[in-house]
């Protein structure tokens, strides 16, 4: 097995005495889509923010492609990109302008051609000169994903990317991300509250609760292993009665 594209070791974040993330360790391999699941406040977004370098960990280490985010932030983030429902691109710029600006920031080679490819890939050609602020939620998500793919990231972080989408658009987005993981050899860390989606897309899931990983495994076999009929049922059970950290279903 090749080196993981993301390696997180003993990652913690405390706010005063309150732990938001508490000694979390996991990896994401190339071509792998890993689901980061958990109830609200479990520490998913905190973990993603630490990986993105916008939140300093209290302890632990994050390596992206073997590059330490804390020590070589720029190099690590050049191999990463993200899309999050709470971080829309500036609404006063057009789709093309946003892609061009972020393409320059990520120093994307042959940027104009890359943008053209992404406009086609994400069905954005018609919207190219429209300001992002007037686009629908689904269209904005597609723009955010196109931006996230600009630099052909080795690691793609997606925080509830389909949260505001109708089922049809959400399915298209899932297919695009799966294709990315397959074709571009990238690893994906995906948070979602949609268990159907997670079961369909993710190769592996991590259940996070109160900042700790409780469970890890294949989203298709985990429910059976724990006597539940579906991932959603397992999610609800774990959210209400957390197991001891990583006691079962370890992949």
């Amino acid at each position: 097995m090749s080196d993981p594209v993301l390696s997180v070791s003993d990652l913690s974040k405390r706010y005063g005495e309150t732990p938001a993330v508490d000694g979390v360790s996991f990896t994401v391999a190339r071509n792998e889509i890993v689901g980061l699941l958990g109830p609200n406040g479990a520490g998913k977004t905190t973990t993603i923010n630490m990986i993105l370098g916008v939140l300093a960990p209290s302890a632990g280490r994050i390596l992206i492609d073997g590059v330490d985010v804390a020590r070589r932030r720029r190099e690590a983030l050049a191999r990463t990109n993200f899309a999050a429902v709470y971080a829309p691109l500036p609404g006063n710029l057009t789709v093309y302008q946003n892609l061009r600006i972020f393409g320059l920031i990520y120093a994307v080679p042959a940027l104009r051609q890359r943008i053209e490819v992404l406009l086609d890939q994400f069905g954005l050609r018609e919207l190219r000169n429209m300001k992002c602020g007037v686009l629908s939620s689904g269209e904005q998500t597609r723009v955010a994903l196109a931006k996230a793919m600009l630099n052909r990231p080795h690691l793609l972080l997606l925080d509830e990317p389909t949260a505001s989408l109708d089922p049809s658009v959400a399915q298209e987005i899932r297919a695009l991300i799966q294709e990315f993981a397959r074709r571009e050899a990238g690893g994906v860390l995906w948070t979602s509250h949609n268990m159907y989606e997670v079961a369909e897309v993710c190769d592996r899931v991590l259940f996070l609760s109160r900042g700790r990983i409780l469970l890890e495994g294949d989203p298709r076999s985990l429910p059976r292993q724990h006597g539940r009929r579906s991932l959603e049922e397992l999610f609800i059970a774990l959210a209400r009665e957390p197991l001891a950290p990583r006691v079962a279903g370890h992949a």
Binding site: V54, L55, L77, P90, N92, L93, Q97, F102
Partner: protein, 268 residues
């Protein structure tokens, strides 16, 4: 080593925003035009009623022009920064390989472009409409502009740090900064008229050296190059200090999660 492409991205963003918005372009020259017209007529009136033979145009109108330039430079930096505040773009911007230095250089570059527009408009109007001759200042005009430019940059970066630390509502602390500084900088009067405690503060402000120098030139008095160099040194020091403060505030924001939360406008 800062990347030209990343700096250009910040500059390009400002260009796109300007290109698409009259509301952003008009203020670049509208307010400076109003100021030059207003003070142009005031100086013309003062010249007509003064019996001392003193020419108010280079002393007062020149002072307005130079002070407006400093204000535009500062606002050039803060406005570019506020675009990220208003569009809740911090997470997108700072979760990239863009370094803090590149970001700040991008803001400053953007300010150079926007303040240059204002300066050209002011110089043309003051010269053509009110006969302000820059020959009065001679070559000293260059260090004057340079010191005021650096001071504007320092105030701009400090304003950005203030808003990053205190949240979007703190932008109302930023707008009055030039007005708060101007009484100490002696824009319209010599520092000798100020009480001792105000004068002590004035000598810590680089623009004071510029306006004292300007008045000395207009009155054909000597002004020490050494004092101007001191003003320049102070301006450089304040730019470095403002950069240091911004870096400290940014690190605090990364430590506390403010950068990530800023996107959600939950800063208190």
């Amino acid at each position: 080593m800062p990347s030209f492409k990343r700096i250009a991205a910040i500059l390009l963003r400002q260009y796109y925003l300007m290109r698409g918005s009259a509301a952003r372009v008009v203020p670049l020259f509208a307010w400076v035009t109003v100021d030059i017209v207003l003070w142009g007529f005031i100086t013309r009136y003062l010249n007509s009623v003064s019996h001392a033979g003193f020419n108010f145009v280079p002393a007062l109108l020149g002072a307005v022009l130079l002070w407006d330039f400093l204000t535009r430079v500062m606002q050039g930096v803060t406005m570019a920064f506020f675009e990220d505040v208003w569009s809740r773009n911090f997470l997108n911007i700072f979760a990239t390989p863009l370094s803090l230095h590149e970001y700040l250089i991008g803001l400053v570059s953007s300010s150079i472009a926007t303040s240059a527009v204002g300066l050209v408009v002011m110089v043309v109007m003051a010269t053509l409409a009110f006969g302000l001759s820059f020959f009065v200042y001679g070559l000293m005009f260059v260090p004057f502009i340079l010191i005021l430019f650096l001071s504007g940059i320092a105030l701009g970066i400090f304003g950005c740090a203030l808003v990053l630390r205190l949240g979007p509502a703190a932008e109302w602390f930023v707008w009055p900064i030039p007005a708060l500084v101007s009484p100490f900088a002696g824009v319209f009067y010599p520092l000798s008229v100020l009480p001792a405690w105000m004068r002590a503060i004035s000598w810590l402000l680089p623009p004071s050296y510029v306006f004292e120098g300007m008045r000395a030139l207009v009155a054909h008095r000597e002004f020490s190059d050494g004092l101007l160099a001191l003003g320049g040194g102070l301006a450089v020091f304040y730019v470095l200090l403002a950069g240091w403060i911004f870096t400290r505030v940014y690190r605090h924001a990364v430590r506390t999660g403010l950068i990530a939360r800023y996107s959600a406008e939950t800063v208190n």
